[in-house]
Every structure is written in C-alpha cells, then in structure tokens.
C-alpha cells in the first residue's frame, strides 16, 4: 500500500482512477488543479505523484519542475499518446515515468509498483559502497555523492545509475533499460531513457557534452565507464 496523490482535472476520470487504485489498496488523495496538488503535498506526504499533464492554470510540466526544485518525489505523468512533445518536456522536467491514457487501474498499479520498488539488482557479495572516480555509490543506503558532496537523484535516475554501474562497461540497449529499469513490458518510447540519461548526466558529469560515467555507444545504447 502506498500513498498516491492524483492530480487530474476531469472529475470523472479523477473519481474513476481514485476508485480503481483504492480497490488495489492504495491510499489515494486527489486534486483538481496543479495548485491544489502542490498545496496537498505537505499535509498528505505522498509516496508518489500521479500527474496529468494537461491541467487548467498551472500545467503538469510546471508542477513537475516546481517539485523537482526541492524534492525527489517519484512522479508518473498521465499523458495521451500522440502528445509526444509534452511527454518529452515532462520527462525533461524530471518525471520518472509516464502512462498513456486511457489506462486500466491494473496498468497504473503496475507502473506505481515499478517506480516505488527498491533496487534489488543482486548486489549481494559486492561491497555496499563503490567508488568510481569522483563518484561514490552506496547500494545499501541508496545514496550517491560526488567528491564528497551528496547528490539528490530522482528515483528513475538513481535506478538507472545503479543498474548501469552494477555492470561497468557493459552496453545496455534502450529497450533493455526500459525493461530492466522501468519494467516496461510493452515496447516503450526510448526517449524515456534518453531524457533520464540527460538528467542524470546533468548531475554527475563534469562536462555534460563529454560524459565520463554514462557513455553513449552509438547504435547500441549506454554503458557505465570505462573511466
């Protein structure tokens, strides 16, 4: 059971999703506007935010940016397929995943669980704390610091970094990462990975244009290192 804050402007959809998720055991609080959603954050203290992109007044993207200024709350965007541009903007604003509407509660529930699942990448037998260059990754405490300074990573960014660094120099295709990090069973949009990589690089790399840690292998995918 998790605490989910749903921000959705259409009352019927809001009610339906709330009903569906509550039946699946989630504690759901709903808000009709971005402003109301932001206001509800402090009191409700949700585990996850389910955020519609098309909102009257403050848009979902703006809400997403506002939250990312100070919080690493997991965020899943609700979008309509074809609003591709919004998806990219939303992902760049810091959303961890997206769901295409209309979606069954079953699908929403699966996405929520995937985002909230703690990393379990078989790190047994590995030292809990690994150091790569300036980067220190604590697999137990789930913290990352660079040159002694702790970094705040969104859940998807942290999971991506942990997954890549668990097998340094191994190349993962975008489809593999979507499957392993985001647990997307259907063929999903590779730009989800690209946007997350871009955000992660912005936080851990010295120079985003010439990445050391998360490297691109054109035509194949991404890999961690070699340093």
């Amino acid at each position: 059971m998790s605490r989910v804050l749903l921000v959705e402007d259409d009352p019927f959809v809001r009610e339906g999703v709330q009903l569906g998720l509550r039946r699946r055991g989630h504690d759901v609080r709903a808000a009709g506007t971005g402003e109301d959603g932001l206001a509800a954050l402090a009191g409700f203290r949700p585990d996850l935010l389910l955020l519609d992109l098309m909102l009257p007044g403050m848009t979902g993207v703006q809400v997403c940016r506002r939250i990312r200024e100070h919080s690493q709350l997991p965020i899943i965007m609700l979008t309509a397929r074809g609003d591709d541009f919004d998806v990219v903007i939303g992902l760049e604003a810091g959303a961890d995943d997206y769901i295409v509407k209309p979606a069954r509660p079953e699908v929403i529930d699966a996405r929520i669980r995937a985002v909230l699942r703690r990393m379990d990448d078989g790190s047994t037998g590995r030292p809990a704390i690994e150091v790569y260059g300036d980067l220190t990754i604590d697999r137990i405490g789930l913290t990352v610091s660079k040159a002694g300074r702790p970094l705040t990573l969104a859940p998807s960014e942290l999971r991506l970094l942990l997954h890549l660094s668990a097998a340094p120099e191994q190349v993962f295709s975008r489809q593999q990462l979507l499957e392993n990090v985001w647990e997307h069973t259907f063929h999903a949009d590779g730009r989800l990975v690209d946007a997350c990589v871009a955000r992660l690089r912005g936080k851990i790399e010295d120079e985003v244009g010439d990445p050391r840690y998360v490297q691109t292998l054109r035509g194949f995918g991404y890999r961690f290192g070699p340093l």
Binding site: D10, G16, G20, R81, K101, H187
Partner: protein
C-alpha cells in the same frame, strides 16, 4: 499481390519546395540546346523570308537594269550601223580593193563605242581591222542577217569578253515597198566591256544590298523570338511551379497580344484551380479535425470508464445474473471502445502527418519474440517462427510491435493455424538491403475481390460479418506504420492456400542512440 504505394512524406515535399525547380534543371538545360526549337525555327523563317525577298528584289532589279543598259547600247549601235550602212553608197559589184577604206570610214562612226566592220560579198572578205574574218560572228547571225533586211544582232561572249555583233544586209530598192538583197552583208563587232563593267557593278551592288538586309533581318527575328519565347518560358516555369504544388503561381500579363491572352487564361485557370483545391483541402482538414476532435473528446470519459471496469468485473459475481451479464457487457464493450478510440486517434495523427518515427536500432528477431511473448503467443503452438539472429535495423520499436501484433493477430483471427512468421534480409532490385517479414497462415486466404481493399479503414472482407473483434483499423494502421518506416506492405495468397502479408523495410546504416 497488391502493393500499396508509399505516399510522399511531408518533409520530402518541403525539401522539393525549397529546391524550387531543382530536379527539373536538366530538362531546362536540354531545351537550351534543342536543335529545332521555337527560336531556331523563327530565326530560320525570318532569314528565309529576308533572303527570298532580298534575292528576288536584287535579281529583278539586276535583270531590269542590265537589260535597260544593254538595250540602250544595242539599239543605238544597231540604228547607227543601219544608218551608216544605208548612207554609204555601195558600188556593185563590190570589188576587193577600196572596200577596206570604206569599211574603215564606217568603223570610225561606231556608236556608242568604236567597232570593227566586216564585209562579206560572195567570196570577198574584208574588214576595217586586221583580220578579214571575225571569229565572233556566228553562223546563226549570218543566217539571220541575210534573211532580215533590217539586220540582226547578237550578243556573244568570247574568252570572257562580251561582244555585240550586228549583221546588216545591203539592199536595192526595187519599188516603193520592195527591196532586193544585193548580196553584200556588213557586220559590225563592238566590244561591250564598259557595259559589262556596269552590269557587274550592278550585280555587286545588288548583292551588297541583300547581305546587310539579311543581317538586319536577324535583329527583328531575334526580337520576335524573344517576345514569343519569354512568355513561353514564363508559362513553362509557371506550369512547373503549379505542378510542384505552388498553386498561387501567376504570370505577369504584358501587352494585348495572343500570348497575353494565353497568360490571362492561365492565370484565371490557376485561380480557379487554387480555389477548388483550397476548398477541398479545407473540407478535408475539417473532416480530419473532426475525427481527431471526436476521438479526443471520447478519450476523457473513456479514461474514467476504463478505470472503473475492473470494479465492475470483480463485483459482477455478487450481482444477480441479469445485472451481472449487463455489467460484464458494459465492461467488455468499454475495453473495445477504448481500443477503437486509440486506433482512431492513431489514424488521425497519420492523416494530420503528425505521426513521428522514434527510431532505435534494435535486434529484429528479439523485438518480434518480445511482441509474441507480451501477447502470450510465445508458447502458442499455432504460431511458428523463423527468426534468424543478428539482424539489426533502425525501427520505431512501438510501431514495429504494432505491425507484427496486428498481422499475427489478424492471421490468428481470420486465417487458420499454423501461422508462420518469417524474418529475413534481401537485396532489393535497387541494390539496397531490405528487411522482410512475412506473416502467413493456412486459412482460406483472402478473396480476390477483397485484396485491393484489405488495407482500407473499416473494410470487412465478409459483408455478413458486421463486427470483427478488432477495431477495423488494424491493417490500415499497420500500413501507415510500415509507410512511416519508408517500407511497403503487400497482401496476397499462397499457392497452397492461406493468406500472406509481406512487409519490406529498407535497412539503413545509421546509428541509433543519441
């Protein structure tokens, strides 16, 4: 087999527009050197007319002037000679001595030029010159001179020198109107060198007049060619521009001639064409927008309905049978409606050319296996696959998944087991490597009448079947997705029965990840 042509992508059209007449440039170059083009023909016609008129005029002028010149000289010479001969008293029979003196007297009176006088009488031959017999007097003149009492003349050219020869018989007067030849015939031979020089000068003058005339004729010829060719060129450029889609093309109308009328007509037709195309486009855009708006509007209530169908399904068992059936029906139909609306929206995006290709380099066999696995077809013994490893292609994974899922789902629904999925690469006729996916079934195949329409929206091969389990848009969406990959899709029947769908997508060497 039906091959569905690939419609032009909007981006390509833009490129063509930016290039302007780029692809047509070779045609224009060819027309410049066209051997029998309008310009050549106009020039030839002008030159021909100028040459004929100048030539005719010069020839006529020359002939008239030459005749007039020669005739004056001739007439004067003949009449002078006749007078002189008549005035001279001849003693008959003519004796050889003394006659030369008379002839020399006659020779001195030559007009307009001096002449040499010859006399012939029986066997007597005498002249005022050195030779008693002239070499330029022809037998014809001799015959004519004896026959005509008024004398005859002839122009003779010998060794390039023109001569006038006059034959004049002497006569007795036997009555007021009758005469009798004496047998003495006098000949005068006059060199016409001066006349020839004048005539030659005339010829040169005529020629000198005609040649500049020809050269001058070139100028109006070129001007006329230009005045015709420029509108023609403009017309051609405008027609090509219209053909490439710029319907607002118009031609400047100059003057009031036939070419201006043509330009006017062209502009009018272009205007009408632009208007009707504009109306058609507006109507089409409205229809598309309407379809898109409708599906958008349907999506929001559907999102709410779909969210609660699970609740309905779960609680249906606890309701009384009729209500439970109604609830399950609503739930199931809601799911189908959601699929239909999603498909409609997808088609609308293709129609609005808003569909994007998010290509990624993927292992194709792996992608197909994934598609089958996700839809729980992986262990299905109705499906056989032949998926060679290590075929990598730049594809949009989601769209490729839709293509494979639609084709396999279609084969399972309408065809018969086993359904085979074959993957291979092939060199196309143009030499590029293409990815080929074949989905075949062992069912009854597609009726010949249905083949041309199999990719149409909401097309039902069997008119009796009012609703298929799918949205009716599956194959249309499949076609659009393949086209978006610059590929083609064909539907056909196998010789041994069963339908086969063949997807061909060109492989590119580009890399995938940014």
């Amino acid at each position: 087999m039906i091959t569905v042509p690939r419609p032009g992508r909007p981006r390509d059209e833009e490129n063509e527009r930016a290039d302007g007449a780029g692809p047509a440039a070779p045609t224009r170059r060819r027309s410049r050197v066209r051997a029998f083009g309008l310009r050549t023909r106009l020039l030839a016609a002008f030159l021909l007319v100028a040459a004929v008129s100048a030539g005719t005029t010069s020839a006529l002028t020359y002939r008239e002037a030459r005749n007039a010149l020669l005739k004056t000289a001739q007439d004067m010479a003949v009449s002078t000679f006749r007078d002189q001969v008549e005035r001279t008293g001849w003693r008959l029979p003519v004796e050889e001595e003394g006659i030369e003196e008379i002839l020399r007297d006659l020779a001195r009176t030559g007009k307009p030029r001096p002449w040499v006088v010859f006399a012939e009488y029986g066997s007597i031959r005498a002249s005022s010159g050195e030779n008693p017999v002239s070499s330029v007097i022809t037998p014809e003149l001799r015959r004519a001179a004896t026959a005509d009492r008024y004398g005859s003349f002839e122009r003779v050219v010998k060794d390039g020198v023109p001569y006038l020869t006059i034959g004049m018989p002497t006569v007795f007067k036997t009555g007021p109107d009758s005469t009798l030849p004496t047998g003495l015939v006098l000949y005068a031979v006059m060199r016409m060198t001066d006349e020839q020089i004048n005539v030659d000068a005339l010829l040169v003058a005529a020629r000198n007049g005609a040649l500049p005339g020809l050269a001058v004729a070139l100028v109006p010829a070129l001007l006329a060619a230009r005045s015709v060719l420029r509108p023609v060129r403009e017309l051609r450029r405008a027609a090509r521009s219209m053909g490439s889609g710029r319907l607002d093309t118009r031609i400047p109308v100059r003057g009031r001639d036939e070419l201006a009328d043509l330009a006017d007509t062209f502009n009018e037709s272009a205007g009408q064409l632009e208007r009707s195309v504009g109306e058609l486009r507006d109507a089409e855009a409205r229809a598309r927008r309407f379809a898109s708006d409708v599906s958008h509007e349907l999506r929001t209530p559907l999102a709410g309905m779909l969210a609660v169908t699970e609740v309905l399904d779960e609680d249906a068992d606890r309701l009384d049978p009729d209500t439970a059936q109604a609830v399950r029906l609503v739930s199931a139909e809601t799911g189908k409606l959601a699929v239909l609306v999603e498909d409609l929206m997808e088609i609308s995006r293709f129609d609005a050319r808003a569909a994007e290709l998010n290509a990624d380099e993927i292992d194709v066999a792996e992608a197909i296996r994934k598609t089958l696995q996700v839809r729980h077809w992986a262990g299905d013994d109705r499906i056989r696959t032949e998926l060679p490893p290590d075929i990598r292609a730049r594809l949009d994974p989601r769209r490729f998944d839709v293509v494979i899922a639609n084709l396999v789902g279609n084969a399972l629904r309408h065809g018969g087991a086993p359904v085979t999925v074959l993957l291979r690469t092939e060199a196309s006729s143009s030499g590029t490597l293409v990815l080929v996916v074949e989905v075949a079934d062992r069912g009854p195949g597609i009726p010949a009448a249905a083949l041309p329409h199999i990719f149409d929206r909401f097309y039902k091969a069997d008119a009796a079947r009012t609703r298929s389990p799918g949205s009716g848009l599956g194959l249309a969406i499949t076609l659009e997705n393949v086209n978006l990959h610059d590929g083609t899709i064909r539907a056909g029947n196998l010789p041994g029965g069963g339908a086969v769908f063949t997807v061909e997508i060109p492989l590119r060497a580009e890399e995938a990840v940014r």
